[in-house]
Symmetry: D2
Subunit: 327 residues, 4 copies
Amino acid sequence: MFNIALFGVGRIGRIHGQNIHDHTQTNVYSVIDPYIEGREELSEKYDAKIQTTEEAMADPNVHAVCICSATDTHVNLIELAAQHGKAIFCEKPIDLDLTKVRDCLKIVEKNKSILFIGFNRRYDAHFNELKARLNDKAIGQIESLIITSRDPAAPPAEYAKTSGGMYRDMTIHDFDMVRYLMNAEPTSIKAYGSCMIDPEIGKAGDIDTSVIVLTFESGAIATINNSRRSGYGYDQRIEVHGSNGMLSAGNITENSVKQFGNQGAVEANPEYFFLQRYAGAYKNEWNHFVEVLGGAESLSPGIDGERALALADAALASLTTNKTVTL
Amino acid sequence: MFNIALFGVGRIGRIHGQNIHDHTQTNVYSVIDPYIEGREELSEKYDAKIQTTEEAMADPNVHAVCICSATDTHVNLIELAAQHGKAIFCEKPIDLDLTKVRDCLKIVEKNKSILFIGFNRRYDAHFNELKARLNDKAIGQIESLIITSRDPAAPPAEYAKTSGGMYRDMTIHDFDMVRYLMNAEPTSIKAYGSCMIDPEIGKAGDIDTSVIVLTFESGAIATINNSRRSGYGYDQRIEVHGSNGMLSAGNITENSVKQFGNQGAVEANPEYFFLQRYAGAYKNEWNHFVEVLGGAESLSPGIDGERALALADAALASLTTNKTVTL
Amino acid sequence: MFNIALFGVGRIGRIHGQNIHDHTQTNVYSVIDPYIEGREELSEKYDAKIQTTEEAMADPNVHAVCICSATDTHVNLIELAAQHGKAIFCEKPIDLDLTKVRDCLKIVEKNKSILFIGFNRRYDAHFNELKARLNDKAIGQIESLIITSRDPAAPPAEYAKTSGGMYRDMTIHDFDMVRYLMNAEPTSIKAYGSCMIDPEIGKAGDIDTSVIVLTFESGAIATINNSRRSGYGYDQRIEVHGSNGMLSAGNITENSVKQFGNQGAVEANPEYFFLQRYAGAYKNEWNHFVEVLGGAESLSPGIDGERALALADAALASLTTNKTVTL
Amino acid sequence: MFNIALFGVGRIGRIHGQNIHDHTQTNVYSVIDPYIEGREELSEKYDAKIQTTEEAMADPNVHAVCICSATDTHVNLIELAAQHGKAIFCEKPIDLDLTKVRDCLKIVEKNKSILFIGFNRRYDAHFNELKARLNDKAIGQIESLIITSRDPAAPPAEYAKTSGGMYRDMTIHDFDMVRYLMNAEPTSIKAYGSCMIDPEIGKAGDIDTSVIVLTFESGAIATINNSRRSGYGYDQRIEVHGSNGMLSAGNITENSVKQFGNQGAVEANPEYFFLQRYAGAYKNEWNHFVEVLGGAESLSPGIDGERALALADAALASLTTNKTVTL
């Protein structure tokens, strides 16, 4: 049984908390959060201690930390945990600053710590079926990849300011998927973006609508289609074209009910957002983390966090200069 | 070039008229209809003569007749055409009375005439793809067949009175498809029906909602699901289960557009009614009739008209007695 | 926290065991099973006691029993639990003998015990969305209901002998769904069946392919389409036609990947069997049982177990006599 | 009745020939083609004269010309027809040289001739349903447009040399659709392309795989995804995202049959190529041309041919320089 210290009891912390509880080899040993009501609720629910960061790090009973706190606390918590010999599960991103990320990864490496980045989509059963078939060359050599990733509704403009911008906050998942699915690093990137949804997001210096094109040495071309607001749920699709055909992974709808009448045939929308769409992925992710605790190789080590952020930075540079960035 | 005398310029006569015109080996030679405006319109459109029944039958230039007039005129026109050596295309049904149908077929046989029954669904490309795979044993031995056949909207109760009732008017197509797809004659039939849509239809002695179960010597079971009013277009589906899986033929939608928004994902309904859904089938049907004129074997000879009507009569007997009818 | 004694550690017992563990208000307090290895595995996994039936019934710390043992033990365990004041969750069926079921329910009633029948489909989110819309009259008055329920592969003929036959073992779920969705009791039933898949099943006196038609006072007609072997996974579909249109609930596929190539466009099959297809339903079911422990009204009380079995018996009588049975 | 002189009896000439024949207001008056067998076959089929270009142009009975001959003959035939007072239906492209196109359009304008460009997709019922909803603001303001356009199989490299290259030959349809659907002219274009399918195409100086991004003053972004070889038929999809949701138009499959078995659920591929996919569009196109002959405004006048070619040229310039081209 691995004892887990859970940092952060917000939306995503609660997801991981339940998965830690459900797994028969892990338990929520302690919760750490400045928000008193939230930490008390989870403490009671899972019969877990309430600790401070210092207590959790110093506690020899804590085997691993699960970092779900605010982004700007991640680097410090990772470094502390690495220095205290804890295994580390950290929600993406490691940080919004690439230099800080690289410094942090050096400390992780020096301490030979396990650092597992929560790129949830790598653990989605649907995408992994697609990935497995790519590996099996089911469609031959990859010629193009199209990732559709649209949030259901735009965040407040306030959020845009602190999130690091759309590319570092949202598209970072897509950059990771491009690398994961292509199994290669892109050689150039060009970003197109505009602010069409909320002018306040534009005033905050961010965009809400974007297309990003990445090219590869093989000649393959990847495209990411992003929007902060779809209006019909969380649009998460993948399409890969190869020398022998196409593989696609479509949306998962909220339910299988279809209603026919004089208005047409109405199906449910895609599942609303990441908490719904990737519920199974989060569970698989935690299962895999437990396997990593047991010695398995991680499917999403720290380096993937760094590389995805580097692509986000390059996309932003391309958007700002309106030029293709060579990688 | 085959000269065709077109009897009846109503909805279905116009469909066949255009197909006769489009086919490079046939032309609308003459139109026969008591309705003056209609016959004049088609006469002008296709540069065709206006004839009386007697003139058309006596005219040696007429190679074949296309009978699209009222049901109660069919038997007389078939017999006349057979006696005058014309090839005969006749819309279903031959007649609503099984004895008359049998007598009529005897005259056709005596004259060695071509009698081609317009069972349009036998010429639908989608259903024929399914039929071809059944023939190829793509799903092994047939275990069950489910035919869904629902009209978009109920006809006036007036119509129910003269149509011969739902089984002879509408389900007759489904009875034919059961025979066509099973490639065997059923051994028993049991009908369930009620009047749920329009009480006036009930008062006219008919039903509007029905399920019919037919059994076969092999143990296979066929079910027909009927309604006079779907409320969402013409619902025409087939599902066949066999020892190696299932074959289905779904509806054809009015268009391929799908709209996503906060109301869900809305697709177009199935094509509205037979004129739309079977437009291609009517064209194929006519093409096949021309092949039959050229010596090919008919895919829907007169005997199929007789057998489908016999099943309709048996279904009606079952409904009335609430007993299974052995065939 | 409710302590649950888990009877039976087979396939279905393990499903419920994990859900009991995952729920933050219940825990697997003890496991009871003659199979030593299995009970020890679960005991260790959930840190649960191993008890005999007598110990579990006598243990005042046990709040509720979860009965997942062999069918022929259900009645005895229910009666014991009722007499010992335990709340009861029992997998379907209560028993294969209607008289025994009725006697058992009397004892439950006398003891005012909670008896919750595991009709999993009543807790499926997809079917419940459909049910909610029926309640909201989204398609007006129900005119017909079609339930498709096909297992992926036939059980050994041995199983057919002890299972009570297809109607009591498999179709019982469909009978329950007919009652649940129609919100009315049928007035007649007629069953059609044959043995087309495995002759050994026929020799064992059972069928493997069936169509059942039930009629209702309103004129509505319900059809159940059953097979012991689909060849393409667990085929679980519902179609309801009403005065304003149709509601359907389709299959859930194993994944969202679609592969296009020269062989056509290949999608995943429906989820393989009930453990996969109804995983979420089992979870909802347990959540609801915990609500019932807390005072909520049960969505599947003992009477539903009795009524579904009565329909299975009537279907069998109809099949044997080839007559419609009036209910 | 309008008499049509049909230039070119190849694949596309035969499509138009049949539509001219089927339309009750037009007939194939004469065929013009250096290929003797082909012109004789069509002459016989439609009872049409065989003429030389000079005869057809000089023949006062010819009301309109339908130009389906080789691309390099188009400009000359258009100019002759304009000078002889014939209405002109011309298959795309007008020419591969933008200067020639512009000069040709001047002559058309000077003669006040009807010049109708065969941009078939503008007449597709599915895309027009989508277009109509865009016009109705069904999804509000357009934010992004994604056009997928993949041919089933690559042409011989020989063809690449004479076709003007992928952009002028194939993508020209997509450029036209971007303009048609966006109802605005793009302000910039950037093309990405590679040769991944057939190295011979690359040696001939062309590409076979491409992504093109176009931006608009409104901030909207359009993407075209192209391939010369899909491997699964003709992939023709449109996706438009707007402030209120998404509209998509999917592929039309070869048939509605779906086969379920242990290999998964297999549907038919998209219709194989343009002759199948746009058969209805070609018919609508001709119907509309006849309306234009009767005085209606053309939905695809000559200017659209010029503008689409200008975009193809700009895309090629972008591809060659690897820079964004401002329009």
